[in-house]
Subunit: 297 residues, 4 copies
């Protein structure tokens, strides 16, 4: 165990594949529905495109290719289409971990095990993950909480590589007058993504949470942690523990991660509590899904 | 014009690319937030996978490929990973119009024009759609209404090829004691998808709405029409008008379409009014996005 | 061992990854250069396209997508292109084992080992095959020999599922007045592919060689065996040994396989001896390559 | 016309799609078969892989993904495979213009026309090129000639951006004691690719032929021009004419281009005349094909 607390393995049964999303009971959903005050809809996704967004080289460039357009109108005509009538369609090639995406619990393993002790070798090339794949998740609805660490520190963005501490999180929560609750969907703002999108600077290093902050969040029994950076955790990794934040949250505690989340507008509106919904694509066997999280303030 | 009513072109300005989603004002969103009674979350997506779901041949099979698993742990080790630690990741190849998906307003054109009169030839191979692409949409939140035509007619599924009429819709609404309102996100149940998923029968023909029903919905000023079939409209097309339902709703009225929607659970619960949220992926220039719509009952 | 003969493991050294292509010495190449009599060039590949050719469902449909055409001329213009000047380019998605293709020695394993005893688990998702991948092959040049079994039996095509025997091969060779030599690149005609391309019938079953014929070819020390069918060997497999022909040739003897080869024109010309050249794509780590073999008669 | 000579449009008929490959008569092929002296086989392709080779960003990274390996052995077992028996297969995603590749005559257009005057707008997203696509080519066999400009100038590689002149070509030919003949497959060595592969320097600028050299080659009635660089022609383009070399050779004269050709070994062996064979993949409608050209010295 990397975190100092008892893990969530077994907490929801030996055959559980849902992890901390088990916290999202209908009661908590009803509570969350009462949070919005303005009715303003926030779209927290960033574009999926060949460049301009944080694409990691080894994953290959996401590509949208036009499969059919008006130049193929003969296909429509052959099916009875009138002149001037047709369809436009695309073919997509993209990593599951592209742009704004939600990690499945099978994404990372430690000691050769994923969440709940399932063996790491049950992810095969053709079939993907046998356990804890993203299609087990479906729809997520709950109380969204923004923790604006950058604002709490009075900066536009945290320094590249800065390791966010538990104290940083607590101070920001105090500044905002917010308390974390069981099952919260927590979004942590570092300011990094806004700067990257605006200035197209270096991808690395990046600010993000460290091991202590990850443990702090796990102890609060949150259901999901997102951030406006590529790995939620800092890069380089805190204490040089490779994927340490992922291990504490995803592997040990079944807490989902949401990466490259666009938090600019929520922050600008000082919208710290909101209804958050996420519709992960039901890609059978996948280890993540690109998503556009939708918040209602 | 296929429909008998005035179109929505120009209604929200000459440069509008959002169409009927303009109806989704914060006030309507706040109203919709008051609908849920149970707090139950419904995930309305179907799987994205190589077979078993309605994949159209000409679009190519959606593929999830494992890009990295424990067998590539050397990559993690090279970055300082401890033995037994690593990541699982996928590469995705899929049509934008795969499984449960939301059509962008640029998806279909008629008289060489898409919604609001933009020219059809502004969709190019490399850049995609210049106007009304799916990335312009982002997050959708509103009042979801299920119109269970199959239940209203007392059948498990409508006959393959059956053309749903305006009277069918009105009768089902009456049976359910529901009225349509401006900006509604309407989901029409034919029962076809449940049968297809269960029995893997023929893809075509399919029941769906006809031209009159499409006009009826447009007159109600709904924002989106979804259905548990491949094209919302019937196949073969009503009155043999190729993509006629798409033309009435998408092209003439800027009303979005949602296809292959899983309505089984909502129907089983007789949940006819609900909060519906959709997070379309912000794929730059794309003509659709796979989605997992999330309803809260 | 499936075949009754000593395998080729170790024959060219413990670290050999080339297998029977070691037979293709410069002397044998010079001999092969003297074979052509007419100078006629034969292209032995079949099309790579979405339909009409034997595509196996589980591999996904090969797709050629236009990435850039004249509608993206703005890209050329931005780089100084004159009006009316531009480029057309594609993006390709296809299995390595598509249409006419050459199997690498790592393609099949038996007793958890590929050719020369390398462990089967050295093919990983991200890096592919560590040993005997197709990029180790490069260019193949040698004496091509057509064995027209269909013609020898006086039929257009062998019966679906027919298992070609060693005696069938010997009789056809005798009919043709040809003897096999060490290092030959042998192409066996069943007639199946011509019928399939012309009539678009059922993919399976298919005629092909059986275990005895495979052993016969291995004993002749040929370097490659191709056929006008999907697996060189018959489907269903001879004696129900799954991939038995692959095991005898590829695994035990390091003899390459060439599948879906178009032999119609060679057969029509009764061209039984020829120079054969194959340029396998140097796809790092791949288990096969689509190819267009070129014969000169 | 960019070149000062009459173009080849119409030379082989109004409906010709083959261009200068029409020169490759059986007689010329028989002549070429007499050239090899050593029987040594040269593989002129470079690897297709995610990095390390000259991949242009806008085309996306070529990806080889393992589709099936031993971890999916259950699939083999379900088909009757014995324990320890299975197959390894890949899925490929790559531009048609990747690594070593052959341009189809439809690749570039000028004055809105491709070779032989076919309209540029006959390349559509779904179907690709109606005319002069790479699948019309198939197998190429002829006299290969290496023109080692770098060696002729006594340098390892020409300066980045250097524009090779007609005089440079003639001097190198004279140094080598070689004359060009009708139908030759000419490979021009700049040394750039060897340096790039070894040192992973900057992709641009690159040495290559200029407009005058292109015209010189067209006047010699060669069938194909290849080079050890990305565009055959220099980058930046000679006289700032965007794709000028492509226009002279490909568009105006139907002379094929072969790019990123590995000429190191031929040059080291001073092998200036050889049999050259190229098997372009028969990708229906494609604008190019990755190839591994095979030379026999």
């Amino acid at each position: 165990m990397l975190s100092t607390r008892k893990s969530n393995w077994g907490r929801w049964g030996e055959s559980d594949e849902l992890g901390a999303l088990n916290h999202l009971t209908p009661e908590r959903v009803l509570d969350a529905l009462r949070l919005p005050k303005t009715g303003k809809t926030y779209s927290l996704g960033i574009p999926i495109q060949r460049s301009g967004v944080p694409n990691l080289d080894y994953r290959g460039t996401p590509q949208r290719l036009t499969m059919i357009n008006h130049e193929d109108e003969a296909m429509a005509r052959a099916n009875g289409g009138a002149p001037g009538v047709g369809a436009n369609e695309d073919q997509l090639i993209m990593p599951s971990h592209t742009s704004t995406h939600m990690d499945a619990l099978c994404h990372v393993y430690s000691d050769n095990k994923i969440y709940n002790g399932y063996p790491a070798d049950e992810v095969t090339p053709y079939s993907g993950a046998a356990k804890c794949s993203i299609d087990k998740v479906g729809g997520v609805v709950g109380r969204g909480v923004l923790i604006d660490v950058a604002a709490s520190k009075g900066v536009d963005q945290l320094e590249p590589g800065y390791v966010v501490t538990a104290a940083d999180l607590q101070k920001a929560l105090d500044d905002q007058g917010i308390e974390l609750r069981t099952g919260d969907l927590v979004l942590i703002r570092t300011g990094w993504l806004e700067d990257y999108l605006a200035n197209q600077g270096e991808m690395m290093p990046q600010p993000g949470i460290g091991l202590e902050a990850a443990t702090f969040l796990a102890e609060k029994d949150v259901a999901l942690v997102g951030s406006d950076n590529t790995a939620v955790e800092s890069i380089p990794f805190d204490q040089n523990v490779y994927l340490g934040g992922h291990i504490v949250l995803l592997v040990e505690n079944g807490i989902y991660l949401l990466e490259n989340v666009n938090l600019a507008e929520l922050a600008a509106d000082r919208c710290y509590e909101f209804l958050l919904t996420i519709g992960a694509l039901k890609i059978t066997g996948a280890t993540a899904s690109p998503v556009t999280p939708v918040a209602i303030g």
